[in-house]
């Protein structure tokens, strides 16, 4: 009995870093769908063109995003779909509102 418990503890200790890494970095590459792998690859190429400071900003925001509860991440995805679906004029209006809102924060 003690031996089983010891084995379970060792396995848990070995698995914990992997679980933490997944919480921090999301899914491993192999778990992405082909469509997601393509999107990631294309965005990675864009990311490489960015100045270092903007790369760091993105990584910082990504950690903020990862730290959000799943429902909050889902809300942001829905908001993004809404934003992408806005006609150009409304999207421009939204950006203007965003600057106004941010300027007064």
């Amino acid at each position: 009995m003690k031996r089983r418990a010891a084995i379970a503890l060792v396995l848990l200790a070995l698995a914990a870093p992997a679980v933490r890494a997944q919480e921090r970095h999301g899914r491993p590459w192999q778990e992405l769908t082909p469509e997601e792998q393509w999107r990631a690859w294309e965005n990675y190429q864009r990311y490489q063109q960015l100045p270092e400071q903007r790369q760091k900003n993105l990584e910082r925001r990504y950690q903020q995003f990862r730290d959000m509860p799943p429902q909050e991440r889902q809300r942001l995805r829905q908001n993004y779909d809404t934003y992408r679906g806005l006609p150009p004029r409304q999207r421009q209006e939204f950006i203007d509102k965003y600057h106004r809102w941010k300027g007064r924060r």
């Binding site: 899914r27 294309e42 203007d96 600057h99 106004r100 809102w101």
Partner: protein, 204 residues
């Protein structure tokens, strides 16, 4: 502030990545400089338009194969001929171009007559917004992945945090999307309104 610095900060301002202090300095400059205001408006329009642009047009597999086959045939045909003079060395280039152009003209003719390429998924007519600007359907926003290849092994950075790159568009706009509802209720003339009357939380 000089115009040169203001213009340097504009892209970051449009992306919402300028610190509040810099944003205030930029706003102060913009209030006094009509040229920079125009420049900012152009930058905003350009970035918005870029986000909505289709990457490439979709090409059916059949058309792609037919074009490549004809180009290969033309190349083989030209390769068999010994160059008789300096002039004939340049022949393969127009031959390639002609073969490609012929296939494209043929394909366009088929599309116009039948409304689609045989064997290819139907492509809907693009939506047109209020300004008469055509908007690409979602299928056209996808890049033609047949022409490119994924690396066998992703680079270390990509392998380390693939979701960063999958969700990069969301992460770029994190601030906008987090406060989406509050921003939408902001009016451009008056004080911004927040749904619960609270000051919107900082996003860092």
């Amino acid at each position: 502030m000089r115009c040169q610095r203001a213009r340097k900060w504009m892209t970051a301002a449009v992306d919402g990545e300028l610190s509040p202090r810099r944003r205030r300095a930029l706003d102060g400059h913009l209030a006094a400089c009509a040229a920079c205001r125009r420049e900012l408006a152009v930058t905003e329009r350009m970035l918005t338009a870029l986000e909505g642009l289709p990457m490439e047009a979709a090409v059916s597999a059949r058309l792609e194969q037919a074009t490549l086959r004809r180009v290969r045939l033309a190349a083989a045909d030209e390769g068999e001929r010994a160059p008789a003079s300096r002039w004939t060395r340049w022949l393969p280039l127009p031959a390639f171009a002609l073969a490609t152009a012929a296939v494209l003209v043929l394909a366009i003719g088929i599309v116009r007559r039948t409304g689609g390429v045989p064997g290819a998924p139907a492509v809907r007519a693009p939506r047109v917004d209020a300004r008469g600007v055509a908007q690409a359907p979602p299928s056209l926003l996808r890049p033609p992945r047949r022409f490119a290849k994924l690396p066998a092994e992703p680079p270390a950075k990509l392998a380390e945090a693939p979701d960063l790159f999958v969700d990069m568009s969301i992460i770029r706009n994190l601030d906008k999307l987090t406060h989406f509802e509050a921003i939408q209720t902001t009016t451009l003339d008056d004080e911004p309104a927040t749904p619960d009357g609270l000051e919107p939380p900082s996003n860092g």
